[in-house]
């Protein structure tokens, strides 16, 4: 199934854990330090450099040389679990990453009707071919951890946690168990 951004509430609710989706449209990269900056700005009630409403966040720190985008695969999502609630409150529609998340994320996805997608981990050259353009949006000083806007075409995703809180990785247990 193909989907186009922005994802409507209907799109989000229709998605079921395990479903394969090809995404067209726009996603925004942010990983550890960009999230930390978002939280700092929100704490000081300052405006964020981009409106997160209905945006899809891609946990990714790409390779970039000059104007050329290189490898750009997903990073481990669970490191961003602590920021998730604040991001949903800002209106983030979905996140893309790799790996399992804390069980509390199932509840959050259910409560806010949001989705966590995973994509092919460690396949950064393959995923590069699904990105048609990119530009820097904010926090350029963070290098690869800056916020970039990616235009994606048929970007391959699997729904890992759906809006019902179903998690394809539940069968694997958690690292703290």
């Amino acid at each position: 199934m193909e989907l186009k951004t922005p994802l409507s509430e209907k799109d989000l609710i229709s998605l079921k854990a395990g479903q394969v989706v090809l995404l067209n449209g726009t996603v925004y990269t942010a990983r550890d330090r960009a999230h930390q900056r978002f939280i700092e700005l929100l704490g000081r009630t300052q405006a964020l450099p981009l409106d997160l409403k209905n945006k899809i966040i891609y946990y990714c720190g790409p390779n970039i040389k000059g104007d050329t985008l290189g490898a750009c695969g997903p990073t481990t999502a669970s490191r961003m679990d602590v920021y998730m609630k604040a991001m949903y409150i800002q209106g983030v529609a979905a996140t893309i990453g790799k790996g399992q998340r804390e069980p509390a994320m199932r509840q959050l996805c259910k409560e806010y009707k949001r989705v966590y997608f995973v994509t092919h981990a460690g396949c950064a050259a393959y995923l590069r071919n699904r990105i048609t353009s990119y530009r820097l949006i904010a926090f350029g000083d963070l290098g690869a951890e800056a916020v970039f806007e990616f235009e994606v075409e048929k970007f391959p995703l699997i729904v890992a946690i759906d809006t019902q809180g179903n998690d394809i990785y539940e069968r694997l247990g958690t690292s703290s168990e």
């Binding site: 990714c60 720190g61 790409p62 390779n63 970039i64 040389k65 000059g66 050329t68 290189g70 490898a71 750009c72 695969g73 990073t75 481990t76 669970s78 790799k98 790996g99 399992q100 995973v118 092919h120 981990a121 460690g122 396949c123 950064a124 050259a125 393959y126 590069r128 071919n129 290098g143 690869a144 391959p156 699997i158 394809i168 990785y169 694997l172 247990g173 958690t174 690292s175």
Partner: protein
């Protein structure tokens, strides 16, 4: 010392390690792809192989996490280890990473990003010349490392349990199918180094010592019985191989270290004889 030669050799190794999937890893991935009958897991394995083709053809990094550039240096009897040699290796690392736009993932306490200081492990051999291995280690998998100081009389089952549990805890976060390096013996620090070194040699050949080989095979089977699989989608391949390295240790203990590598197990080596 032929500085230019060292710099250019290291630079080539940086590019090779980051853009060319190791032949032994690729071979095991192909076997897994052919053998897998969980369709979704098989497709994910297919994407990993396709990724390797694209990375090689377009000189794009296999993974955006181009790792901490770790260097293993094996110095022969005729080699003088000097600051100049270490600096030349660093120069090759810097040039290779910068020229190909590989990510600077090393951060210091001032939040400065760079490719250095890379981590160098120096070993010695009686052969001539020196062998440099560039081993970019991603942190998705490095974060899953485990150490346990066992009693010297511990059973084989307890050691196995600890190793399998390390993989179970890693779940699918560290990009399976994994290559699991195990270090047994030495000290707390050196057994983890052994575990990492176990990942450098060919992983598609059984250990020379048959009892070690049997142990590796039985761990391989136990780990694959976890059915984590590529992207956590299940199937037969949670790991591609298990490699054990051992060393003598103190009579009062038995350190066991586990170093997990993702499917993007990267390393490249070269031996320089005239330097």
């Amino acid at each position: 010392m032929n500085r230019k030669k060292i710099v250019s050799t290291v630079k080539k190794l940086v590019v090779k390690a980051n853009t060319e999937l190791r032949k032994d890893v690729a071979g095991l991935l192909r076997t897994a792809y052919q053998d897998e009958d969980n369709r979704q897991a098989q497709e994910a394995l297919g994407v990993i192989l396709e990724n390797a083709r694209i990375a090689r053809a377009r000189r794009i990094a296999l993974c955006q996490d181009t790792g901490l550039p770790i260097v293993f240096l094996e110095a022969g009897a005729d080699v003088k280890i000097s600051r100049a040699l270490i600096d030349a290796i660093q120069e090759g690392i810097d040039q290779g990473y910068a020229e190909y736009g590989f990510r600077a993932s090393t951060i210091d306490s001032d939040r400065h990003l760079s490719y250095s200081p890379y981590i160098t492990h120096i070993g010695f051999t009686r052969k001539k010349g020196f062998t440099i291995t560039v081993f970019p280690k991603g942190f998705g998998s490095e974060n899953k490392s485990q150490l346990k100081m066992f009693n010297p009389t511990v059973s084989r089952e307890s050691i196995d349990e600890f190793i399998v549990e390390a993989v179970r805890k890693a779940g699918c976060d560290a990009c399976p199918p994994y290559v699991v390096g195990v270090g047994i013996g030495g000290t707390s620090d050196s057994c983890l180094l052994l575990a990492k070194e176990a990942l450098i040699g060919r992983i598609d050949r059984p250990a020379r010592d048959t009892s070690a080989g049997k142990w590796e095979t039985s761990l391989y089977e136990k780990i694959n019985a976890l059915h984590i699989g590529p992207m956590g989608l299940g199937g037969k391949y949670t790991c591609l191989a298990v490699k054990i390295k051992t060393a003598p240790t103190h009579i009062a203990g038995l350190p066991v270290g586990v170093n997990i590598s993702c499917h993007a197990l990267r390393s490249a080596s070269a031996t320089i004889r005239d330097f």
